[in-house]
């Protein structure tokens, strides 16, 4: 059915290119693999043919689920083209071009539509944004040393997390027998000089994402202490603040004393204590910083009450990405400290399936409990 006047080989290569336009990883290797597979199957049966191509060309679950539709689209269009007896080369794959044009159009309108939408919403948000600069000096100065001290202890624990791998180290505590033997063979096999090894330290990286919107206002001073303390105590920390937009504040926190850091932050951020768009900010984080900062040694700590005025439907995507790529996601919610708290805000609901730990953080005591999750 498929082999009429067209060459099967050419069509498979074309099909591979069609798939490539739909986010499949396709190289020459995949194309030749697909052609090779044909040697082993009865490709006159459409089902067998399809299954074989699917088995060879898909690389992930999402591709498996997209494959059937793409396959149907491509070959239907191809048959039409053949039946119409217009077997021109270019005519063979009218679909991809069309598809691409459509996708491009959709993309264009999406970009366009979204853009206007975005300016509108931010304009709306800025109405609520209290432009009065926050006076961060409200932080009780006597609380700070205690917090910092505690966070330092926590940081020590994080740094002490050991890996299961070993590396050679003269000051290590385990004998490295392989090296010992090899070193001492020269001396006639008498073990005079011992070689040592020790466990590699596991470098946990922390990413703090702090909600500084209006709904979190009561806790902002506390959160700033928290962020500052963490940044000071543990250098492998990256700190981000988000409200309507996301902003990295690592350098400010790391390089200044508390008072200066607060002054700098408050002078830079007129937009704080406004609305929240968790989903958009998380997306921004994932696309901008995700690849660089997140790996299996990263613990992500999100501090937020989960109130989201933006579109919560984008939360699953970014949270899902974070979940598969990071070691752990800890969501600290100041409201969770209340007895009758239910995580029922839309943002919280959307994020819940992806969180490893949901814990309260509203006072020092709750913070002490944080150690057990890290």
């Amino acid at each position: 059915m498929l082999i009429r006047q067209t060459s099967l080989t050419a069509n498979i290569v074309q099909f591979c290119r069609y798939l490539r336009q739909h986010d499949f990883t396709m190289g020459v290797e995949e194309e030749s693999l697909a052609l090779n597979a044909l040697k082993h199957i009865d490709y006159r049966s459409r089902d067998v043919f399809k299954q074989a191509l699917r088995a060879v060309l898909c690389r992930s679950r999402s591709q498996v689920s997209a494959f059937d539709q793409l396959f149907a689209d491509y070959w239907k269009e191809l048959e039409k083209a053949v039946d119409a007896k217009t077997v021109q080369k270019e005519k063979k794959e009218p679909k991809p071009m069309q598809q691409q044009a459509q996708a491009f159009k959709a993309l264009k309108s999406w970009l366009h539509g979204n853009k206007t939408d975005e300016t509108e919403t931010t304009a709306a948000y800025s109405l609520h944004e209290s432009l009065s600069r926050k006076d961060f000096s409200m932080v009780a100065p006597d609380e700070l040393p205690e917090l910092t001290q505690y966070l330092k202890a926590l940081a020590k624990r994080l740094a002490a997390h050991t890996n299961r791998r070993y590396r050679a180290d003269a000051g290590g505590n385990k004998p490295d027998l392989r090296k010992t033997l090899r070193n001492n063979m020269r001396r006639g096999g008498e073990l005079l000089q011992l070689a040592w090894r020790k466990r590699k330290p596991n470098r946990t990286r922390l990413v703090l994402l702090c909600d500084v919107s209006q709904s979190m206002e009561l806790y902002t001073s506390f959160l700033l202490q928290f962020m500052y303390g963490f940044q000071q105590a543990y250098s492998r920390t990256q700190t981000f603040a988000f409200g309507t937009t996301l902003q990295e504040i690592t350098p400010v926190l790391a390089k200044n004393d508390f008072a200066t850091a607060m002054r700098k932050i408050s002078s830079q951020n007129q937009g704080w204590s406004g609305g929240t768009r968790i989903g958009t900010c998380l997306m921004h984080f994932v696309s901008q910083y995700g690849k660089r900062l997140i790996n299996k040694k990263t613990v992500v700590i999100i501090l937020s009450d989960g109130w989201d005025q933006g579109d919560t439907s984008v939360i699953p995507e970014s949270m899902g990405w974070l979940k598969t790529h990071s070691r752990k996601i800890i969501w600290l919610n100041p409201l969770a400290g209340f007895d009758r708290y239910q995580p029922d805000t839309a943002g919280m609901q959307a994020a819940l399936p992806y969180i490893h730990v949901l814990a309260p953080v509203h006072n020092l005591q709750s913070l002490r409990r944080l150690a057990q999750y890290l």
């Binding site: 898909c58 392989r178 033997l181």
Partner: protein, 298 residues
């Protein structure tokens, strides 16, 4: 290799594995094209089983490497038997052998402890190598594995490079706790196995437990299907279905009722939150499955 697609299907089914066309095609092509097969899917849907079946079908050995975080070359490839080496050195201390000879002896095959990967490439017959739960290992091991999978040779500094005598048939499994690298994916054929639908699950139960009462099997499968619709911490797989079916038939029970389910729920659910949640909504679940089973019977 002279194996036909239909042979694979019948091999899988004679070994008690109810399969669909997709599984058979993937297994077949991975054999024909000599490519590793990466199988993903939730726990308990028989991913590991495929490797076992494949080994039995090909009449070869199955070598298994279980992955975990921190798995490294000494556990995956080889390690020298230090105790033996030291003993040997002591014993030959006053012998006539020169130092070089003694060194050569202690770094020879008999002092080498072969771990799964080395075993697989030096095996006397093409084996099936099962690398189980690859997503549990870390990225360092993944890239190391990538190297072995492409070169099929292992270099031991003390003795030299060992080339594979036969390229093993590799099966990797994972349940998506971590995203695997694109490079590893591109080396493999990919197969996703989901929880089976009602018909397939029923068939599995009937095949594995032929003496099972058909009505009870229907009830069990209906209940399991409904259970998987719920938001559970650990969704039960086919292995749980089989365990449960076995337990129930062992108790000589011919139909499900609330007490029986409550008493035997521990076979199916392995998380206390799930157990509590299911207990709370048991009547509702019973009603749901009861209605379905009536429909099936009429």
């Amino acid at each position: 290799m002279n194996i036909k697609l239909d042979d694979i299907k019948s091999m899988l089914s004679t070994q008690g594995y109810i399969t669909d066309e997709r599984v058979a095609m993937s297994v077949y092509l991975s054999l024909q094209l000599e490519k590793p097969l990466l199988i993903e899917g939730p726990a308990g849907v028989g991913k590991t089983e495929i490797a076992k079946v494949m080994a039995r079908a090909l009449e070869t050995d199955l070598i298994r490497l279980q992955c975990y975080e921190g798995l490294d070359a000494t556990h995956a490839l080889y390690e020298w038997n230090y105790q033996r080496q030291l003993l040997h050195l002591k014993m030959t201390e006053h012998g006539k052998q020169s130092l070089e000879e003694r060194e050569k002896t202690i770094f020879s095959d008999s002092f080498l402890m072969k771990r799964p990967l080395l075993q697989a490439i030096t095996h006397h017959k093409k084996p099936v190598l099962l690398i189980d739960e690859i997503d549990r290992s870390d990225e360092e091991f993944e890239s190391f594995l990538l190297e072995v999978l492409s070169d099929w040779q292992i270099t031991i500094p003390e003795t030299g490079t060992i080339l594979a005598t036969h390229i093993p048939q590799v099966i990797l499994t994972g349940n998506r706790t971590r995203e695997l690298s694109e490079a590893l994916r591109r080396r493999c054929l990919y197969l996703y196995i989901d929880y089976p639908g009602f018909e397939k699950e029923w068939l599995i139960v009937k095949t594995r437990l032929p003496d099972m009462d058909a009505k009870l099997a229907t009830e069990i499968c209906n209940f399991m299907q409904a259970l998987r619709q719920m938001q559970l911490e650990k969704t039960p797989g086919v292995s749980e279905t089989l365990d449960w079916a076995l337990a129930l038939s062992g108790l000589h029970i011919d139909h499900l009722d609330k007490t029986i389910i409550e008493q035997t729920l521990g076979v199916v659910l392995k998380d206390w939150r799930d157990t509590r949640q299911v207990q709370l909504s048991l009547s509702e679940l019973m009603e749901k499955t009861g209605v379905i089973s009536k429909l099936v019977n009429t």
